[in-house]
């Protein structure tokens, strides 16, 4: 079996090398059959990688410890589900997942993207092949998940933090996002190499980019929920370098999704859009480098390894190559049109882009600075939460406000009178909300009040956009309110799907502000019968219970929760002691209040030998809006992704004629 997997990986590597060499020659010399053959090599590489992945999955399922990777990441007692998710629980397996997803994306993208034009696809194939070759090279020569050894009696087990149902979906979704950003990058490079700087590459990759961005967004939110319920520190985002590594490409991709609309509508920002695609892809590679190289200490990162220099070299080559290409093609990327007014929809998109990129780059600096300082001075400087919070507030709050302003401003230019009319209701709603919040005592956090006030402004502008749009469509006659509403959304799915995504971001902002700016934290050592109070809840510690659960022993503190004289239930924060892994994990207990959206979050910080517990209790208002935001985000992304028959016909008329004539 390991030989089969290794042979499949070598086959995949050779096919990808062929896609690069053969594909480049075919594109350069204009050889049709060789170009098609190189394209087929990408499809075949996907098949070969699937075989390698099946071999590893089978070894994980059978606990075949003759595979070194299986022995290092599973144990006999590890449940089957977690044994399978150990596929991406370690470095070599996650590299194989990268390659698998990349080959899948590559095959699907080149087979379905007819509109990009053959001459562009011919260059897209070697670009995708180049990225694939790098990962296949690592898997074949540097970090094989299929390396074998003399089988030990038992494996080392899986990190307890990774023994969580979220592990089944969080990493694969992140990978679908990270790797998916390769597609727009490859098409942008393909278009530049083929000297085709029209919109075809954008049209061909529109859905791929949106899907990758959505996967990355949902993956991060699932990661935040995993951290919240599993890591046991009471938060969901810690500005950990690896968390930041996923956030940075997402911010760059968000900027691209907005600025590309300006190129489509006005023919502007061609250079900027290509640069954003390069930035998003390089940041996704950098994120993978951070996780895989072991260069940083993080719960997400794997142990020190030899692949760091390989990654760094590859990132440098890709970045230098892409920037050189953009520079060489600058004459082809010049826009004929210019911004007409600084008060227009496209101008708000531009401001949004500047803020998003500034936020991404300041986060990047926060991640890179400790590494650079360690390399130069030998001591790693610490960039902590206040740094990130400062920039989140400085750039994030204006971004939030712009989400409300943008939809209210017309394309090209807007007069003061029109602005006054469209801003009236959202502004009034925001002012009233701000006043109510201050009267209700929310002024203890200035940032919190600003975030809530801006959120109300954005929500009001979104509601107004739907209401005015529906009304305008209804005025055209022939349909009722329902018909007008659905026709409005169906005729411009990207715009209205985007507004729903904006609503999700607002929910996220409200949840973050509520659960961080207004949270209450209490800590106390409790002996059985002792109690403590947090945000009006009385917590009474009753003692411990202990039981054996599969591969671990669970120790739980029994905490009865009361509000006034009402008994709200028994909660069980505690610890799990994992035998094979020889590790102890925190197991939190959470009381969700669906009516208020808040949580009572209990952590048994220390289980003491004298029968007492060091209990930490956090009251986190509105935190559940974060998770609700995830569902709204998915809904908005699906609407934006859903095919639009009218648009498809228009593009077919525009481009497929060209394919026939070509």
């Amino acid at each position: 079996m390991p030989d089969l997997g290794r042979a499949a990986l070598v086959t995949s590597f050779l096919l990808l090398v062929y896609a690069v060499v053969g594909g480049s020659y075919a594109a350069w010399r204009g050889r049709r059959r060789l170009a098609e053959s190189a394209q087929n090599a990408l499809v075949a590489a996907f098949g070969a990688t699937v075989v390698a992945a099946i071999v590893l999955l089978a070894a994980l399922a059978r606990h075949d410890f003759s595979f070194r990777y299986v022995a290092e990441h599973t144990s006999r007692e590890l449940p089957l589900g977690y044994s399978l998710t150990a596929f991406w629980g370690g470095q070599e397996g996650s590299l194989l997942l990268w390659l698998l997803v990349l080959c899948g994306y590559s095959a699907a993208a080149v087979l379905t993207a007819r509109r990009a034009g053959r001459e562009v696809i011919a260059w897209v194939v070697p670009t995708l092949g180049l990225v694939g070759t790098f990962f296949a090279l690592l898997l074949v020569f540097v970090a094989s998940p299929l390396a074998t050894q003399v089988a030990p009696a038992d494996g080392a087990g899986l990190n307890p933090s990774l023994q969580n149902p979220y592990m089944a979906v969080h990493p694969p979704l992140l990978y679908l996002g990270y790797v998916g950003l390769t597609v727009p990058f490859a098409f942008a490079m393909g278009a530049l190499l083929a000297r085709r700087t029209d919109e075809r590459w954008i049209v061909a990759t529109r859905r791929w980019t949106l899907a990758a961005w959505a996967f990355l967004g949902v993956g991060q939110l699932l990661g935040a929920h995993w951290a919240y319920v599993e890591i046991g520190w009471g938060g969901y985002y810690a500005w950990d370098p690896v968390e930041n590594a996923a956030l940075m490409p997402w911010l760059a991709a968000t900027a691209f999704l907005h600025s590309v609309m300006i190129q489509e509508k006005r023919g502007m920002l061609k250079v900027w859009n290509v640069l954003l695609v390069v930035l998003a892809f390089c940041l996704s590679l950098f994120g993978t480098f951070l996780t895989r190289s072991g260069i940083i200490q993080s719960i997400h990162s794997f142990t020190q390894s030899s692949i760091g220099p390989w990654f760094l070299g590859f990132i440098c080559v890709i970045t230098a190559g892409a920037l050189t290409l953009v520079f060489l093609r600058l004459p082809l990327l010049r826009s004929k049109t210019r911004l007409e007014s600084l008060v227009s929809r496209e101008a708000t998109f531009l401001y949004n882009n500047l803020l998003l990129v500034a936020l991404a780059l300041t986060i990047l600096w926060g991640v890179v600075y400790p590494l650079l300082s360690e390399a130069v001075t030998g001591t790693a400087a610490t960039v902590s939460k206040p740094y990130y919070n400062f920039f989140l507030h400085s750039f994030g709050l204006p971004l939030l406000l712009l989400m409300g302003i943008g939809p209210l401003v017309a394309w090209r230019r807007a007069s003061l009178r029109a602005l006054g009319r469209t801003f009236l209701w959202p502004l009034a709603a925001a002012v009233v909300a701000g006043a109510v919040l201050l009267a209700a005592g929310a002024g203890s956090s200035r940032i919190g009040v600003i975030a809530y006030t801006f959120s109300v402004f954005v929500l009001a502008s979104i509601v107004l956009e739907f209401a005015r749009g529906t009304s305008a469509r209804r005025a055209l006659g022939g349909v009722g309110w329902g018909g007008a509403f659905s026709s409005l959304v169906a005729r411009n799915r990207r715009r209205y799907g985007g507004y729903i995504v904006h609503a999700a971001v607002v929910l996220l902002a409200i949840g973050v502000a509520g659960s961080s700016a207004y949270q209450t934290v209490r800590e106390k050592r409790l002996h059985p019968g002792n109690s403590m109070t947090v945000a009006g809840n009385r917590l009474v510690f009753r003692g411990f219970e202990s039981r054996l659960e599969g591969n671990h022993r669970a120790i739980r503190a029994l905490v009865d929760v009361y509000r006034g004289s009402d008994y709200l239930g028994r909660y069980r924060p505690g610890k799990n002691q994992y035998f094979a892994e020889d590790q102890i994990s925190n197991e939190v207990s959470i009381r969700h209040d669906l009516l208020t959206g808040g949580d009572l979050f209990l952590i048994a910080d220390q289980v003491n030998a004298d029968g007492s517990v060091d209990l930490k209790a956090l009251q986190k208002p509105l935190v559940n809006l974060l998770w609700l935001a995830g569902f709204v985000f998915v809904g908005g992304a699906l609407i934006a992704l859903w095919p639009d028959a009218r648009e498809e016909r228009r593009l077919a008329e525009r481009y497929e004629g060209a394919a026939v004539r070509a």
């Binding site: 096919l15 053959s37 090599a41 085709r196 509508k265 006005r266 017309a410 394309w411 060209a658």
Partner: protein
């Protein structure tokens, strides 16, 4: 043994998939990767310009109906956009 056989089959299948374009058309009369000529590239650019102009006109109408564009602004801009759309339509032919 069976694993080696499966491995060989996988490799062979991949080679066949890669060779398909040459197997299907061994004596190709024309093996050129066709690139659109100057005229076709110009037509595409004009078609994109036409769609952009029509979309701009639609946006303006919609923004006017939803109150984002005042009557004065609408009157000032609509003529320019209509002329541009008409020119783009004429250019595409």
């Amino acid at each position: 043994m069976s694993a080696a056989l499966v491995g060989a089959l996988v490799a062979l299948s991949c080679v066949v998939v890669v060779a398909v374009p040459f197997l299907r058309d061994p004596d190709a009369q024309d093996d050129r990767l066709l690139r659109p000529g100057e005229a076709e590239q110009r037509r595409l650019a004009l078609a994109e310009e036409r769609d952009r102009a029509l979309a701009a006109l639609q946006e303006l109408e919609f923004d006017h109906r939803t109150g984002k564009v005042s009557d004065d602004d609408y009157r000032e801009v609509v003529g320019v956009l209509r002329r541009r759309a008409a020119e783009a339509l004429r250019a595409v032919g």
